[in-house]
Amino acid sequence: MITIIDYGIGNLRSIEKAFERIGAAVQRTDDAATIADAERLVLPGVGAFGACIDEIRSRNLESVILDRVDDGVPFLGVCVGMQLLFERGLEKGSHQGLGLLEGDVVHFHRADGEADDLKVPHMGWNTLQPTRPHPLLEGLDNESYVYFVHSYHARAANDDVLATTRYGHAFPAVVQRDHVYGVQFHPEKSQASGLRILENFARIPSPVPS
């Protein structure tokens, strides 16, 4: 069972339907007890970093999420949900993230001076360049297109980057440390490539019986 953490941000219907399409059982919840028992967790997110993390904290979900990650269940952050995995987000001020991965989240234009003529948001289909083979990316080729829409991106430790994408400069598109995963793009809007990644995530072994 895939448990999508529904903390009131954005429409989760598409990601729920995407998991259903690959044949996974899926539920949405903001209930702490349900999250505490989840077999695998998905953390979505749209809009601003600060608004998302504030909403998680105001619902008292941060500690239950972190506890469940400590239990070793596979955990996937999507888009802003991926950004929340990091220590700090620099969108509309500075906000403390979940701190599961080292690094921060910065704007495309401010990340390096050469990017100032880039159209932002980075919107559309772009390619993943895997840095190493990994079960999450199984079945994808070296130039798989996925759908991005974001103005900020992570700066992560090299060891945590599973794939990069180039827009002005290379940025982390897929990150992973142990059983914590993050994708900057929207797998639920990335047609076959996206569904393949969700399918791979659903197959990663969980220490908790389904």
Binding site: V120, P121, G139, Q191
Partner: protein, 268 residues
């Protein structure tokens, strides 16, 4: 490398496609969901639904169309037509739209752009600009509303800049002069706007050949091209359009065999 996007647009009236593809091999050519599935399988990068009646009675029908489409099609969907408030936008996004396009309502109440962006994020808010050339040398364009019937006296380039400043994530720029002519996009208009803003611009109005699509991207500086009639009447297909762009050296997303083989629903 970021791909150039090809975006088919479907006009929907009372839940039915009124200007759409005449595919012979789909069950119900008037069903927007069926057309969306066909475009998705062909490799369309996004879809736009334009609700051309958009009366209040019609709105629930459109929500249902959007919901059923979003359940079937795992590419981004933009819905426009008659959205006048943050609540209208929310209902459409909750139904499954990824982005909402606002036009006349944004001109009447520019703060609607920022209210929408604050509520849902800039990436959700597409400002559609219908522009008509009102001066030749130097060229100048004016914003028209209500389906291009009503002039506003607003300079299109200034409006594009204001829409960006107020939080639009993307602009959909339609040339009223070229719309329906098949003479190609108004490249001077696109070039002027894409130089002025730092958000993506979708070119619209006038595409009649595959090379018009290339021109909109290369000469107009657009990030995406919207096309209706060249696909609807099957003069060209989405894969042909992508091949044309690829031959011209432009990055495009290839259609996915895996979608057909592994994930596409096969019951209809």
């Amino acid at each position: 490398m970021l791909a150039n996007r090809i975006i088919p647009c479907l006009d929907v009236d009372n839940g039915r496609v009124v200007k759409g593809i005449n595919f012979v091999d789909i069950r119900d050519a008037g069903d927007p969901v069926e057309q969306a599935r066909t475009y998705d399988a062909e490799g369309a990068d996004e879809l736009v639904f334009l609700d051309i009646t958009a009366t209040h009675e019609d709105r629930d029908i459109m929500h249902d169309v959007v919901r059923r489409t979003a359940d079937e099609v795992f590419i981004p969907l933009t819905v426009g037509g008659g959205l006048r408030s943050v609540d209208d936008m929310r209902a459409m996004l909750q139904a499954g739209a990824d982005k909402v396009a606002i036009n006349s309502a944004a001109v009447n109440d520019p703060a609607l752009i920022s209210r929408g962006a604050d509520a849902f994020g800039n990436q959700c808010i597409v400002v559609a600009i219908d522009a008509k050339r009102v001066q030749e040398n130097p060229p100048a364009w004016e914003v028209f509303v209500h389906g291009g019937r009503k002039e506003t006296g607003i300079d299109a380039l200034e409006w594009a800049e204001e829409a960006e400043a107020r939080g639009a994530g993307e602009l959909l720029v339609t040339s009223m002069d070229r719309d329906g002519t098949k003479d190609g996009y108004d490249l001077a208009l696109l070039d002027a706007i894409t130089r002025r803003v730092r958000i993506p611009v979708i070119a619209s109005g006038g595409a009649g050949t595959l090379d018009h699509l290339r021109e909109g991207l290369v000469k107009g500086g657009a990030s995406a091209v919207l096309a209706a009639s060249i696909f609807h009447f099957q003069e060209y297909s989405v894969p042909e359009a992508k091949q044309h762009l690829r031959d011209a050296g432009l990055p495009v997303r290839p259609p996915s065999d895996e979608w057909i083989d592994r994930y596409a629903r096969t019951d209809g």
